[in-house]
């Protein structure tokens, strides 16, 4: 038995992407910057991939910049908007408490460089309130950056509403769409998105490849200096096989999107229903406004790493926001941001379903998680104290 249920961490490469990449590696080894025919052919392949990616999000090809992944795109977008703001005396940035570290650590660095950062509350349901974005905007605000969908709890943010507010207030708007690009329909025009980051390996493409959408005319400075690739915004010979693999994977994901979203939503809701039968457990984040494949739970009285190891023994790959899995003393900042206390956040489990998961997988996962949680509670002193009434239940 082998059930991969960690699609928010990464996804298996699609056959279409592997085929596109191997063909590219065999046949298109030319440097897109070279003027002879094989170079120019590689350039055509590169520009075709750019068109394919752009059309998926309603962008123009020239607004798409290829990067090494989501983290680089986040860094470049935020830093570009911040430095352009600073030149105009604007040094305030608005974001949220549960962003990915690629965003939060970039903001930390900007704070050290003199920027002021407001992190908005994401409330118990893990959803930002547009009116709170509006209220936080000041004359010196140069950027709002809010993720499209959260990587741990899967909650989808009101991007269109936030985009409209930012446009009206003339503030640049970036969204980290690493979890959303592919599974969700995105339209950068209708949603007034100025910058968007995405990563190929989250939608069955290769690792080490991603893209940044930057609206025509917005500030964009290079993080890597050198040659004139990507219109002087990202030096270095393009990772053509990776880019081609990403475009193929994205096209396929978009073609399957509606059917997959409906299928995964059903599987997700069945998984949530099954896990809710475990006493003193709770779903993390809004039940409706969430990615089709995301299920995140907290179980009181147990610790997440031992839960994961035992599920791994049963052939299930999952993830947790416990301190022991994060390598720090604190559990996930996302779970703390939605108000889960430490004691409960340590007992978290994230299951993210994807293309290859079946209804049988879901039933197997439900019974495995039930068994493992009850086994671990069987010798947990925390559970004993909760059951005996010595300490009160939180969930």
């Amino acid at each position: 038995m082998n059930i991969y249920a960690d699609h928010a961490a990464t996804t298996a490469m699609s056959e279409a992407a592997i085929d596109a990449m191997t063909r590219c590696m065999r046949e298109e080894y030319g440097n897109p910057s070279s003027l002879y025919k094989i170079g120019q052919r590689a350039k055509e392949v590169l520009e075709q991939a750019r068109e394919d990616v752009a059309s998926v999000i309603g962008a123009e090809p020239r607004e798409v910049y290829f990067t090494s992944g989501g983290s680089e795109a986040d860094n470049q977008a935020i830093r570009s908007a911040a430095l352009a703001g600073k030149k105009k005396g604007k040094n305030h940035i608005i974001s949220t408490a549960f962003e990915h570290h690629a965003v939060l650590h970039t903001l930390e660095q900007l704070k050290a460089e003199g920027f002021e950062v407001t992190l908005l509350d994401v409330h118990e349901n893990g959803v930002v309130r547009p009116e709170e974005v509006e209220a936080a905007i000041r004359p010196e605000t140069c950027l709002v950056t809010v993720m499209y969908a959260n990587n741990e709890i899967g909650t989808i943010q009101p991007i269109r509403e936030i985009g409209a507010i930012c446009r009206a207030r003339q503030v640049l708007f970036h969204t980290d769409a690493v979890q959303a690009a592919g599974p969700l329909a995105i339209d950068v025009q209708a949603e007034n998105i100025d910058y968007l980051s995405a990563s190929a390996h989250k939608f069955h493409g290769p690792k080490g490849t991603g893209f940044l959408y930057a609206r025509k005319g917005v500030p964009l400075i290079p993080l890597i200096n050198g040659g004139a690739q990507e219109k002087n915004r990202r030096a270095g010979t393009e990772n053509l096989p990776g880019i081609v693999g990403m475009a193929a994977a994205l096209k396929e994901t978009v073609a399957l999107r509606d059917a997959e979203a409906a299928r995964l939503t059903k599987l997700r809701d069945r998984l949530i229903e099954g896990l809710k039968e475990i006493p003193h457990s709770a779903l993390n984040g809004d039940a409706e406004k969430r990615l089709p494949g995301n299920v995140s739970f907290c179980f009181e009285g147990i610790e997440g790493e031992s839960l994961l190891l035992l599920l791994d023994e049963k052939g299930i790959s999952a993830s947790s926001g416990s301190a022991c899995t994060s390598g720090s003393l604190d559990p996930s900042h996302v779970l703390l941001a939605i108000g889960r206390v430490h004691d409960v956040a340590h007992g978290s489990l994230r299951l993210t379903l994807g293309r290859e998961n079946t209804p049988e997988d879901v039933e197997y996962i439900i019974s495995a998680v039930k068994n493992v949680v009850s086994y671990l509670r069987g010798f947990s002193p925390v559970w004993r104290d909760l059951q005996s009434g010595k300490t009160p239940f939180i969930l």
Binding site: I302, E303, S306, A323, V341, H346, F379, P381
Partner: protein, 131 residues
């Protein structure tokens, strides 16, 4: 390479001496739920020898494995030996722990020492009562 040694996985998957001793002569509890680790040790002591030991642990794989290994290392041993048990000995017996998990073996050492403290405290109280 796997996260844990085979020994750790063996003790995690098949923990020894799990449970509670209702009429324990000593109980030690260390850690807190906020940090994600709690260990509780129950000892049955006769003639200054650990006759039986049981544990309950809330924590990660290495916390459970460290508790299990520590109970095996003290079972049947005289208290004079038990009080010298170190986290280093527990870690070595497990064929090592990842650097950020060493604190789990420290917790095991502390749980046993906390149980011994409880034992001596109870004994001195009984002695006082019988004086």
């Amino acid at each position: 390479m796997a996260l844990y040694s085979e020994k750790v996985m063996d003790h995690f998957l098949h923990p020894r001496n799990v449970g509670v001793i209702e009429d324990a002569d000593a109980v030690g509890e260390v850690g807190n739920a906020k940090c994600g680790d709690i260990m509780k040790m129950y000892l049955k002591i006769k003639d200054d020898i650990v006759e039986d030991v049981r544990f309950e642990t809330f924590g990660c794989g290495s916390a459970i494995a460290s508790s299990s290994m520590a109970t095996e290392m003290i079972k049947g041993k005289p208290l004079s030996e038990v009080k010298n048990l170190t986290n280093k000995a527990v870690t070595e017996a497990l064929d090592g722990l990842p650097a950020h998990k060493i604190h789990c073996s420290v917790l095991a050492e502390e749980a046993i020492h906390s149980a011994l403290d409880d034992y001596y405290r109870r004994r001195s109280e009984t002695e006082k009562a019988s004086d």
